[in-house]
Structures are given as C-alpha cells and as structure tokens.
Amino acid sequence: MRTIRFLLQKEFKQIFRNKALLPLLFVLPIVQLIILPLAADYEIKNISVAIVDHDHSMYSQQLISKIGSSGYFKLAGYETSYANADKLIENDKADLILEIPTGFEKNLVRENQQQVFIAVNAINGVKASLGSAYLNNILMDYNSDLRLQWIRPERYNPAPVIEITSSNWFNPFMNYKFFMVPGILAVLITMIGSYMCALNIVKEKEVGTIEQINVTPIRKIHFILGKLIPFWLIGIFVFTFGLFVIARFIYGIIPLGNILLLYGFLSIYLIALLGFGLLISTYSETQQQAMSIAFFFVMIFMLMSGLFTSIDSMPEWAKTIARCNPVTYFIDVMRMIVLKGSGFKDIRTHFIIITLFAAGINGWAVLNYKKTN
C-alpha cells in the first residue's frame, strides 16, 4: 500500500506538470460538450423547396401556403416548368421539387384522387429523406383536411381508416440534446480514459524510465495500479463535471434515475477502458504508435456505438461489432438512467457484460504486460 501511495504521488505530480496534457484533460470535455451537441442536431429546418405549379388553382395555392407555413420549408422558387426547377437543384439552391400537375383541382374534385410529383436532391441524404418525409406528412394532412371538407360525415365510415398519432415518451418534445449530450459525455470519457492511460504508460517505455523502475522491488501489479488509479479518478471527475455542471446548467438535463447506480456503472466501465489503454500500451513502443492504435479503435467505438445512428438499423455484421463495443453499453446505460430513470433490474445485463469486458480486457493486458517485460 505504501508503494502505491508513492507511485500515485509521483503520477499526480507528473500529470499536473504536463502543460500539454492537463488542459486537454479538462478543457477538451467542456468545449466538446458545448459544441458537439450543436453539430449533432437531427432536426432539419430551412429545406429549400422549388414549386412547379401547372394548375394555378385555389387548391394548389392552399397546398403551397400550407407547406410554407409549416416552418420546415423555405420557398426557393416558383417556377413555370420542371426544367427551370431542376436548374435550381443543380445550382444547389433547392433541395426538393414539388410538381403539381395541371388539373390538380379538377381531378381531385371529380375523381377523388390526384398525384403530385416530388423530386429530391439526395446528395445530402439526411436532409433529402427528412425533407421528403416532412413533405409527405404535409400532403397527408392536407389530404385529410380535404376529406373533412368534402365527404359528408356518415354514421359509419365506409372505408375504415387507422390514423396513427404518437407521443414521445421520456423526451416529450423530442429534444435531440437530451439524448445526444449523455451520449457525447460517454464518448468523451472513453476518449480520455483510453488515450491518456495508453499514452502515459508508453511514455515510461519511450523515455526509458521503465528500465529503472524494473530493477527496483516495485511489483508489476503495483506499477499498473499506480498508472490506472489516477486516470480512474480523473475520469470520474470529468464525468461529474460534465453531468452536473455542463449538462445541467447548459442543457438543463437532470438525471431521472439513481445517481449511485450511474456511478457504479461508470466505475466498472472506466476499469474496462483503462484496461484497454493498458492493453494498447503493451503492444506499442512509442507514444505515436499508441496514439494511432487508440485513435483507430476509439473511432470505431464511437461510430459503432449507437451515438449517431441507431444500432437496430445496422446490418447484422455491424450489430455484432456494436455488441462487442463497450461504448455501446455505456451510452445505452447513460440514456436509460438519465432520461428514463431505469433501475438496476433494467440494466442488469449491461452490468454483467461490462464486468466481463473489464475482467477480460484487464486480464489480457496484464498477461501481455508480464510477457513483454
């Protein structure tokens, strides 16, 4: 215990003297938590729509003003021919074209149905798919308005219709920040844990100090603990700061679930991550190597964690990768506890899996550490 105390003292002195690392440890999470959620906004507004109205009727006017008033669309042009509207797309001035055919009103009244044409600029996939979905919604809405006007209410509706209305649980206003911020915080902790830990250990190798340490009676396990504990504490500190200062005061996120449960999970998660850092350090000789390896994995961890895209919509093989990714479980748990207020029973599987991760990665790292030294 005495040895560990001195090792920790040494370690903290070195960390707090590192003029390049220290700001990174504390400033980076703050800046990223403030900036990143803004970049991860999935709500798309200001979709430019070009309209080609061949009908010039009252109904087509109504439809157009309904689109304009929805708040999502911006009228980029009111063209007389499709070719002209197409030019707007080519010049990147419009994202969507809505073409209303001649006889729109007439057919609608007489034949009770009509088709409109939507062309989408799919270069920005998200914008295109969301834009056309919004537009479809508006058209549907418009459609039902018409039906109310036209069809005399009968006692029994001859054609049964199922109308879907949804309510958003746990995040009633679908505020994307509520689920992005906890996720980004999870990724930040991951980055700090794995990078810093791997770099710190490899630095001893690179500078050669590990030679001097190895001829002393310090046991390997003490040395490893002396390396992991400081970053475990820093991880917890940064997390606390992110959750109780930034998430709370900037985004107004107040965790619903049990805080102790969240910290319990974080503790095990950090052990797994630091083990991962240790593992990287056993395979690399220089800080540059360690950084590159860590970067490679953290990148995959981040993109395959369900932070930006839903894991359920990934192909099977990608789901397998996501399941082998500790970050997936942490983001999941973060969202469950913070937004949903889940209890231990709900995240028991997560706990088991992350404990296995921690044991597995650390076991591998320690074995490899002993072998290479």
């Binding site: 001195f6 040494k10 002195k13 070195q14 500078v207 100090t209 001097q212 001829v215 002393t216 009676p217």
Partner: protein, 305 residues
C-alpha cells in the same frame, strides 16, 4: 566470496538469429571495480541487463551477491543499483523528487543513506528544485548515480556512465567511483573508452559477445607480445601507406598523431632498415621510438589474433 559470477552465459535476439553474448564466463570479487571494455554492440549492455534481471539468458547461469539471477530476481532487485546507459529518471520531476521517489520505493530515505551519496549529492544540491530534464549531461549523470546508490546497494552496475559526458566530468566521475569502492561496494562499469580501462581494478575486453581477455590492466599490457613502436613524420597519410608496404611490418594503424607499428618478428632489430626505407620514400623529420602499449593496442592485437 565472489560478488558476481557468470557461467557460460549466452544470449540471442531475433529468434536466435543475432548472437549478442556468446558463452561468457567471469567473476568479480567483492569490492572490486570491474570494467567491461568493448566497442558499441559488443554485448556489454546485454550482459548488464541479464545481471540486473531485466533480461533472461538463453543459456548458462549467473549469480549476483550469491543469488541466482533467474530464481532470486526479486531479492537481487532490492540489492543492486543500476544506472542504464540512457538517462532514465523522471525528467518532469525535480532532482530532489527523483531521489526521494527512488529512496521510498526501496523503503529507505535520503537521510538514512546520506553519507553514501553525500560527496556526489552536494554537487547537485544547489539545483535540487530543478527538473531533472533541465540538468546538464554531467549533472544528470550525477543524479542518476545518486538514485542508483540511495538504497545502499551491494553491487552497482553502471552501463556506459561516461558516454556523452565531457572530459572533466568523466574524470570527476571516475574519482567518485574510486571513493565508492572504499565503501566496499562492488562496481561493474562498462565503457567504450579504452583510456578508462586503466582506472579499473580488473577489466574484461569484449568484442562481438566474446570475452577476449580478463585481467588487471597492467597484466594485459604486460601480456602484449613483442615490441611496439610509435612512428611520426611530416606526411602522415603517406607514412601509413608506406609502412603497410614495408616487408617486415606486422601491423600498423594510426593512433592519435602517431602510427603504432609492430614488426613481424622481434628477434632482429628492424629499426635502421625502416629508417632507411622511409628516407628512401621521401619522409622527413622521422620520429621512431619504442613505447609501452596501451589497452587499445592490446585490444587491437587481440582482435587480430
């Protein structure tokens, strides 16, 4: 009792492709200042790393302070002091913090063994709040020696302690070692500088992982077969070429401002013949005299035989 013994130690690298240490055996007595002398890549560091339990030998056995380097590595680590060739202290800790750190992990304190390091430490004490990384080369060396001594080791391993240190600091360093010897600490030191060999009690000349000779520096010099001459003239480059072409030349090589020369056989005095030969080849101001060989001469002789 011998402090360090090696029995037929071999070490290979790269899956037995590179032979670094080849069947080396020697022993060092207690309180001896023993020098391992050889050029870069001779296997000095490998031997030191094996003796300090950082590396396992492929073959052979060795003991330090009566303890086996494989079985009792833990006990050895608490008894030996090791100063690697590359500065290996924490550059971002101060002089005092480094010393304190190494004292505490050996379960001792600076005060407890202050006597041992006093002579050396007083020289760096004025800089004790300076970070180790900001010290000059000679200062770093002194600090590293203090850190290697702070737990009062019985055997001290110094791997090329004077490489990259200026001439004055080198001299000082060897004086420090002599004082340490009086404390009955066994010291093994490796160096590529032949001129430092005479400062050791005994030396081992090593080349390509093999020991060429082990003895006191005096005896190694005495064992030099035949006579050695130093030759000098105005045209040194031409002189070396002409000497190589001379029919009785055994070996000749440039050594500082002279050419060191030995004849094929020493039964007959070839000096007058040589002088004539050189004058015929247009050399002026020729100096020729017999000299006592240095360790370097012995080393080169051993390499050739």
């Amino acid at each position: 009792m011998d402090s360090v013994t090696l029995n037929n130690i071999s070490k290979t690298y790269n899956k037995k492709k590179v032979l670094a240490v080849d069947n080396v055996s020697f022993s060092v007595g207690k309180g001896e200042l023993f020098g391992l002398i050889g050029p870069d890549g001779a296997g000095k560091t490998s031997i030191f790393r094996m003796l300090t339990t950082l590396l396992l030998p492929d073959e052979g056995t060795a003991s330090v302070d009566g303890l086996d380097i494989v079985k009792d590595y833990k006990t050895i680590r608490s008894r030996v002091g090791y100063m690697p060739g590359k500065f290996s202290l924490y550059q971002d800790l101060t002089v005092e913090e480094n010393l304190n750190f190494f004292a505490t992990i050996f379960d001792t304190s600076i005060e407890e063994n202050y006597e041992l390091i006093k002579d050396i430490y007083v020289q760096i004490e004025p800089f004790k709040t300076r970070r180790a990384g900001k010290l000059s080369g000679g200062m770093k060396q002194k600090l590293a020696l203090c850190c290697a001594l702070i737990h009062k080791p019985t055997v001290l391993f110094l791997d090329e302690p004077t490489t990259g240190v200026d001439a004055v600091s080198r001299k000082e360093f060897w004086e420090m070692l002599k004082r340490l010897k009086q404390q009955n600490i066994t010291i093994l030191v490796s160096t590529p500088y032949m001129d430092e060999a005479t400062l050791c009690d005994r030396i081992a000349l090593i080349q390509s992982g093999k020991i060429l000779s082990i003895d006191t520096p005096e005896k190694i010099v005495e064992a030099y077969p035949g006579k050695l001459y130093a030759v000098k003239s105005e045209k040194m480059h031409q002189l070396l070429k002409d000497l190589q072409a001379f029919e009785f030349t055994g070996s000749c090589f440039a050594f500082g401002e002279h050419v060191h020369l030995s004849f094929k056989d020493d039964e007959k005095d070839h000096q007058p013949e040589l002088l004539n030969y050189l004058e015929e080849h247009g050399h002026k101001h020729i100096e020729l005299q017999q000299i006592t060989p240095t360790i370097e001469d012995c080393f080169i002789k051993l390499l050739k035989s």
